[in-house]
């Protein structure tokens, strides 16, 4: 257990600069967007153009009174807000592969050392999995923590008589990327993150298959991923969730889907642990 935590610490440590980079990018993009957009909207109002019947297109306001709300700023800055979020998702998706392959490739093949540590090899597997989860939740919670700060920046810039209140749920839903990241309902949170975690675990299993079976490994790995995807998608599409005349009730299909998820997840974890302890080759 102790060594597992040390391994997690080491994995986090190896990613810390990239993590910090993604967080700084989030800060720069989003703070910059909020400040610039809010300032220009406020100065537009102060310039008197608003009262002189200027075009509504440049008002950045959804309110008939012409007052600004943070939600308005969020929806007008959507695309800049999304850049760091999408980039973080992309980098993490690549790192799901790199967290393994960086130990094999390059001049220093760290995997030699990892595999001869006097600890159960499944700890290496779970440490890498834990590290990925830590990165995901660290970035999400960072984004969550940054939002109130951005709102207070908005409040600082906009005089209170020009301000409309906004609600947290509106703020999040004003940006589709944020809405995916932080679902308002607990069950959609479970579904999104559940699917994500199953994907990571299945990819881990595929990587370890590829690392264990030489030249044929890559074929087996793709096959494994393909079968997993089919198993996961079959209940939703094959059993006809949208078909009113279907043989099964939607509740039954959801149960089958859940069973499939559990099956793919546990088979992948079991396979990953087994391969890393018995079959892996450097």
């Amino acid at each position: 257990m102790n060594r597992y935590l040390k391994l997690v610490h080491m994995e986090v440590d190896r990613f810390k600069y990239i993590l910090a980079g993604l967080m700084s990018l989030t800060l720069v993009c989003q703070f910059g967007a909020v400040i610039w957009m809010t300032m220009s909207a406020v100065s537009y109002r102060k310039s008197g153009a608003w009262r002189n019947g200027g075009s509504m297109d440049y008002s950045y306001s959804s309110s008939p009174t012409g007052n600004l709300s943070f939600t308005d700023v969020m929806s007008t800055t959507q695309s800049i807000f999304m850049i760091p979020i999408l980039l973080s998702i992309g980098v993490l998706a690549i790192y799901v592969f790199l967290i393994w392959y960086r130990d094999w490739f390059g001049r220093n093949t760290f995997i030699y050392r990892l595999l001869i540590l006097p600890t159960a090899r499944r700890h290496i597997y779970f440490a890498k999995l834990t590290a990925i989860l830590i990165f995901i939740f660290a970035l999400v919670s960072f984004q969550l923590a940054v939002l109130p700060v951005e709102k207070s920046i908005f409040n600082l810039i906009v005089p209170s008589d020009l301000r409309d209140p906004s609600y947290f749920s509106d703020i999040i839903y004003s940006n589709p990327a944020l809405g995916m990241l932080i679902p308002w309902h607990f069950d959609s949170f479970l579904v999104y993150y559940g699917i994500g975690i199953i994907a990571v675990i299945a990819i881990f299993a595929a990587i370890l298959i590829e690392r264990s079976y030489g030249r044929l490994g890559i074929l087996y790995a793709i096959l494994y991923l393909g079968i997993s995807v089919i198993l996961l998608l079959f209940p939703m599409f094959g059993l006809g969730l949208d078909d009113v005349n279907g043989y099964l009730y939607p509740n039954e299909i959801y149960t089958i889907e859940l069973v499939m998820c559990v099956v793919v997840m546990s088979v992948s974890v079991w396979l990953g642990c087994r391969l890393i302890s018995k079959k892996i080759t450097v």
């Binding site: 060594r3 040390k6 080491m10 190896r14 390059g106 001049r107 220093n108 093949t109 760290f110 995997i111 030699y112 050392r113 595999l115 001869i116 540590l117 006097p118 600890t119 159960a120 090899r121 030489g214 030249r215 018995k278 079959k279 892996i280 080759t281 450097v282």
Partner: protein, 229 residues
């Protein structure tokens, strides 16, 4: 004693190990000799559990390889296997964190002996310096056995001298050492026992002093008999 019994392994359709069997005794330096690609490194990796075998058994003091045995058998691969971003001090720290067999005083002693700078980053080390640090990581563990893959290959003359000195010191004494080489030169007078590899198995296994006194042959003479016939 490390016992290797009739191990077989195929790699990319070629039979790399083909019934190799031998033992490594404690208190002796055993050298696995063979041309490049003869499967020497594969044997070391197989002993360390870094690559699976098709068949055969490997036992260390009668036990099959197990995570706890990594405390009593150190492996020094032919290249340094620590992340390039680490500082040497962090590398030592890592070893101390994970191995109970780690001997910090000995590590300190070896770092001094090789005049290594703890603040340097692993990725910036020259080849010779990396090889020295690699030896520090392996030899500073209090283990019964040490496996070394080509400890002299690609290393400048002066570093070779230092490394050879390590072999004749208390750092090696009483341990069971298994090293591989494709050029016998540096180690000819250091080793107790030679294993010659050919076609994936051990074709000669002899005590060096014995073959010198009984047959008046050098290790190179025996190698010539084996590889040129």
């Amino acid at each position: 004693m490390i016992e290797v019994v009739d191990i077989h392994k195929r790699y990319r359709g070629r039979s790399v190990l083909n019934g190799a069997s031998f033992t490594v005794e404690k208190g002796q330096i055993t050298c696995l000799i063979g041309i490049n690609g003869a499967g020497k490194s594969t044997i070391l990796k197989a002993i360390m559990g870094l690559t699976p075998l098709k068949s055969g058994t490997i036992r260390i003091d009668g036990q099959p390889m197990d995570k706890n045995l990594y405390e009593s058998i150190a492996f020094i691969p032919d290249h340094l296997t620590m992340p390039p971003g680490m500082k040497l001090s962090e590398g030592l720290r890592f070893m101390q964190d994970f191995y109970q067999s780690w001997n910090a005083n000995r590590a300190e002693e070896l770092m001094k002996f090789f005049s290594l700078d703890q603040t340097e980053r692993i990725g910036n080390l020259s080849k010779g310096t990396a090889a020295k640090f690699n030896l520090v990581l392996g030899l500073a563990q209090d283990t019964e056995y040490v496996l070394m893959d080509e400890p002299f290959s690609g290393i400048d003359m002066f570093s070779r001298g230092l490394i050879a000195e390590v072999f004749s010191s208390h750092l090696i004494e009483d341990r069971g050492v298994l090293l591989t080489t494709h050029e016998i030169g540096e180690v000819e007078h250091l080793i107790d026992r030679a294993l010659l590899m050919k076609d994936g198995s051990i074709c000669r296994d002899f005590q060096c002093e014995q073959i010198r006194s009984e047959e008046g042959k050098s290790i190179v003479d025996v190698m010539r008999e084996v590889y040129q016939s």
